[in-house]
Every structure is written in structure tokens, then in C-alpha cells.
Symmetry: C2
Subunit: 418 residues, 2 copies
Amino acid sequence: MPTFFGFRHHPHAAMVRARTAEPGAARAARLDRWCLDLLSRFLEGVPVELRLWNGATAVVSRPTVASVFIHDRRTLFGLAARPEMSFGEAYRDGRLEVEGDLVALLAAVDRKIDWRRQRPATWLNRLRLGGDRSTAQRNVHHHYDLGNEFYKLWLDEQLLYTCAYFPAPDASLDDAQRAKMDYVCRKAAIRPGDVVFEAGCGWGALALHAARHYGARVCAWNLSSEQVAYARERARAEGLADRVDFVLDDYRHIEGRCDVFLSIGMLEHVGPRHYHELGEVMDRCLDEHHGRGVLHFIGRNKAAPFSAWIRRRVFPGAYAPTLREALEGALEPFAFAVLDVENLRLHYAKTLAHWLERYEASMDTIGQMFDDRFVRTWRLYLAGSQASFATGCLELFQVTFARGACNEVPWTRAHLYA
Amino acid sequence: MPTFFGFRHHPHAAMVRARTAEPGAARAARLDRWCLDLLSRFLEGVPVELRLWNGATAVVSRPTVASVFIHDRRTLFGLAARPEMSFGEAYRDGRLEVEGDLVALLAAVDRKIDWRRQRPATWLNRLRLGGDRSTAQRNVHHHYDLGNEFYKLWLDEQLLYTCAYFPAPDASLDDAQRAKMDYVCRKAAIRPGDVVFEAGCGWGALALHAARHYGARVCAWNLSSEQVAYARERARAEGLADRVDFVLDDYRHIEGRCDVFLSIGMLEHVGPRHYHELGEVMDRCLDEHHGRGVLHFIGRNKAAPFSAWIRRRVFPGAYAPTLREALEGALEPFAFAVLDVENLRLHYAKTLAHWLERYEASMDTIGQMFDDRFVRTWRLYLAGSQASFATGCLELFQVTFARGACNEVPWTRAHLYA
């Protein structure tokens, strides 16, 4: 299949020939070539050039968007055997380099997936998702307690680490995050005096926004000590400490009565076995008559686990459910009425493009804060996430729900766009 | 509990006393009273007065919205033993009469249901839902082949027999049905030249609307011979026969390629065991890249069968799924992306209020076309449906979906409200 891959001699080919004079080297070179062939077939149609340490190259499809340089045989064999995990690990270690457009390369690979044939997570895998309070805290600590200074470098000014809402594609990230907060508050129909509970509140921007602009009294829960400390300080500084409480605790311990329950970007860390516990909390707390809420989470069209590499290096215990899985666990058992679902995946692709751009622009500072492995891990995570949302490998669902008999709901959705 | 029911002597009490002189009559009267007591407790809180043939009455809760007159002992016993089915059958037969606000009465009963404790349909019950082509055809014939003249009396001018969309609550039914057709076409982003398939097309209004106003070429399927004959005639009369095809066949036989797949108010008749077949049809027919569609169906917040009476007398084999059930069967297995879900149940309550009002206004004509049982059956069905949508016992879900990788989707939903 010469259209999809073609070996050619590299300027360093003489060196390769010299090496093959060693005993067994000819066999090794044949094996290298076989692996490169295998990898090229695996990547069929992906516009990439593969280059080996020994000068051998394969162009999988032209015109290429990127060139992947594989540093050693161990990395090549790893890629051939277990491509996804090996790619992440080798990129992180610097045993593999990508020149060109990393996002476009990853998107091209994502587009090859036939989701109809995708398998769900195994039961063993599912057991490891979310977890009890101590596991959840460890997982949260792993990702969110990296130092607020780090996140300030590439998030928006209010530190929202969830999908923004861009009223127009060219809106700024700061504007889009503000628009997202308004969108959520309006979808949840927050009115002055409403008691709002928020499960998983990040650095507190939405809780403060709901109090300041919608007159809500807010109580917000979070397991990240660094985030809660930051949020409390911000509430004090902005004179909202009497109307917004930040609690360092697990969502399962939420008690009290509320009119509105929000959870923006937390379900990903809850784990499907625990959706029912979240549903119980909402059922316990929400006003029996007019209680309503918004769940905003990364999802899938078809049930599948996150990549093993993302779970190992970026989000331990995380899982993006299908809409069906989320409803099955957290809403239907409690007869909550789904009022509105919106899929905002292209807004997340754009959010991630902003984050990645700012991440790269802050490279000097980040390089002083963390080692190269960290820098590359986070680059691959941000680029890979952008690619996944751009290609429909990941979705972003915003689900508005209410008590089943609640008729105090807007007549149409037109007010959201007025 | 004297606040909830209180016996008092009726003007005809003397007659009752006369009857109790017969042997065993005193025992029978005690039993009647016990049943009335049981029924009152069952209806606790419902603002209704119950009146028996023998003059005994019980006011369950004041102020009452309706008075139920129970004609005989058999009916009373039936109500005490199996309230839902017996109420429907007795109302149909005229063994039970309701004076006052029938919709308000039924809504008050609906509001008593604790949906969290509701049980799903049994597997045996589920086996009877939807069914193969011949069963489906028999079920469709039962409801939709009653004569187009009947439906013309109380539907809108274009004969849409599904939930309308009222941009404002005081819109006319004709305007609201036109708005619904536009809403669906805009949600599905129909463009000139698009091939649109419609599964379950009623009297053809939407298919003709999509062709006339959106430039689509439409092929629409339906199992009701009367509806198809009417739709074909309308296409000819309006000069759209070259752009709209009406096919008298089952949705499972749909073949060909389309850009857009619509199904408005058919899923209720498909049955959960067959959702996967509908999904297969959509997966087979929809364009691999930009295929998209709208499923519009009556649903539930929690899985439960339709009432046994509705299944016996109005919609044999019908089932209103939860959103989760619909996704599980028809969309997730094929990795379709859910773009948008909207719950329009209050619009259906209003649609039904219009239908019921027009139904009552046409009573003279309908009474000449059908017998009293038919007239009462349809009144109870329309009133009961209005009550169910008004109280959240039934939902109306409009689900917009697309191929998972399709990025040709509107950036926001603002255009739907411009």
C-alpha cells in the first residue's frame, strides 16, 4: 500500500547501514521496519510522518500535519503493542517528539475510532472510578492542588476550569466564562433569596457570581483545600462572605434544604457507581415542590472509559458518562424531570484552544515551576482534550432538571437568548 | 378522619332505608359504606365529592372541583378493588358520572402519585408493547383509522395530532402547530435539497411543510391507510407530489439514504423492545457525516407503563419511555450525539386543552358519528392526558441528535428564537 506508507532512505541511512553490520542487527532492523509498518497501518489515513532514530521514515498520509520522531526501539515496540498508553508515556518522557500541529494529529487519530464498535469500561475498571471519600480526595488532590499560581497562568481571570459558553465564536475567554455563569444561573432560574447548593465549586467563581448578580445565598462544597482557601479569601475580599459559604467536604455529606442544586464539572469525578449517591443528595436537599438544578459534565455518545494514560497521569478515577448513564444513576431513580439538555462540545474545544494557547504562552514561567515531564504531560492532556471535543470523542452535556411536578418553569427557552 | 370524608344523609336516604329492610340489605349497606370509606382514603386530599346511588356521600376534601356519581354497587366495588381501570370502564359505560371539572379532578388524583416509588412495566407487559408489523398495524388501525372527518372536528386546520409549540401561551392552536413544524425543521437544520425521511407522518402536514418552506425532498412512512390516503391527496392538491412521497409501510422497512430523519409522535407506538430496530433504521439511512434528526415523543420521568385502561381502550401496545430508555435503545448503541433535549410537557397540556375544548364544542356532530361509549372514552382520554401533562405524570421530549463527528451544527441555539 504505497499510498499510505513508503520507506525512504534518510540522510542518516549510512549510519543505519553501519549498525546493521553488528550481529543480529539485520534482524533487529527488519523488526523495526515491521513495527513501523504495523504502526502505519494502525494509523491508516492519518496525515502524519513517522521518523525513527535510525533514519527510517514512513509517511502515513499526505499532506502531513505533523511529524513524529521516535527516539528508540523500546518506544517503537511500545507504540506497536499498546499505542495509546505508549504514546502518552513516550511523549511525557521525551522518548517521542511531535513537530507540527499536535491537536490536528490527535484529532485525525480520534476520527478513526468507530464509536459504534466501542466497548464500555469493564466492571473491574468501573470499580476504580470515583470511589469513596478518601479516594475521591486523593484523586482531587492529584489534579487540583497543583498550586493556584499554575492555574492562574492559563485559565481566565476568574479561574473557571470548566467549559465556557461563547455567545459568538470570537468572544474572549473571560467573556465566555462570564457568559457561562449567567447561562447556568438563568437555566436554573435563580431568583433573589434562593438558597443555592453547589457540589464541586472549583475556585468559587460561580458561587460568588450567583450571590452577586442573582441575589442567591450559596453554599458550595469542594474537596480541594487549595481551591477552598482561595474561594474563601475571594469571598472575604469581595464582601460576599456573609452570603457564600465554602465547605471543604465531600458531596455525600451535603445536608440542608435548597432551591437550586448546581454541579458544574464534578460528575466526571464521581464515578458511575456513585451517581445514585449524588442523586440521593439532590433528592434529600432540593425543595420538594420547586427544586431545580443544573448538572454540567463531560460525556460520551457511547459508554467507554477515558484513555488509560489520562487516568494514570491526569485524572485518576475519572469517567465521562453517556447522557443515558447520568440519567440512569442520578436523575431517573428520583423521578426528576429533565427540562433541557444542551451539548456544548464545540464550546469546550474552543475553551481548550484558549487554555492551550495561554499555556504555551506561559511556558517560561511554567518551565520554572515544574519539570519537563509535567510540562509535556499537561500539553498532551490539553491538546488531546481539544482534539477529543472537536471530533466528538467527548461531549459536554448541560442538563437542567426539576422536581417532576414543578410547573414554575419558563414557558420557552427564548429568555435565555433575549 | 372527618376532614377527609364525611357521610351525610342524602335526600334519597329514605329510599335507602326502605331497601335495607330486605334480608341482607343492612350488611350490603355496611359494605357499601366500607368501600366508600376505602375509596375516600385512597383519594385523600383530592377535592372531590363521592355520591352513591343510595344517597350516601363523602366529601374527600373541600372545596371540591367535581362530584362523582357512582350508579351501582358493582361500580363501587370495582373502584375500591382496582380504581384506575374501573374508573375508566365505568365512565365509559356511563355507570359513573362526573359533574364539575374533570381535568382538575384527574390532575388532583395524578398529583398524589409518588413517582419515586413507581414500578416499571413488568417484562410480560413489555412483551405486549409495540410489536411486529402486523401488531403495530392493528394498533395503529385501532386509533388512527377512525375516519379523518372525526379528527377534523377537533384538531387544527392541518391535522397535527402531536404536541404543538406555543411561542406565547395565548397563541392559537393553528399558529402553535405551524410554529411546532418550524421549530422541528429548524432544530433539524433542514436546508434546500436535503433528503428528509419521516417515520410516522400522520396526515402529512410536517412532510409537506418541510418541502414547501425548507426546500426538502421528503419521504414519509405511515401504517394508517386513511392518513396516507389523505396525505397523498393533499400533496397532489398542493402541487408537492413530486417532492413528497407518502409510503404505507412499517418504519422497519425504511430504506435509502437521507440527510435528516424525523419521527414526531411515533416512538410511543414502537415499544421499548423495538427501539433498537428504529435506531438501526436511522443508522442505516442517515448520512454518515452530517446525518441528523429529531425524535419527539411522550415520555416519563420514571419508567412506568401507561394505565391499563388507556392501553385497553385508547392506545393498545403504547408506551411512554423515560429519556434514558429512549437513548438506551435508539441512540446510544449507534453512537449518535444528543445535541439538544427539550421538555415541552406544558405545551402538550395546552394543546390538549385546545383539543378538549374543540371536542366538546363539536359534541353534536361527534354524537351523530359515534355511540355514547366512544364519546365518553375519548373525553376521558383527552381530559386525562391534559391532566397528566399538567402534573408531570407525562412529559414531552424533543430530542435533536446527529452523527457523533458532525460539526455542521449551529454554534448556539439563539437562532431558534431570533
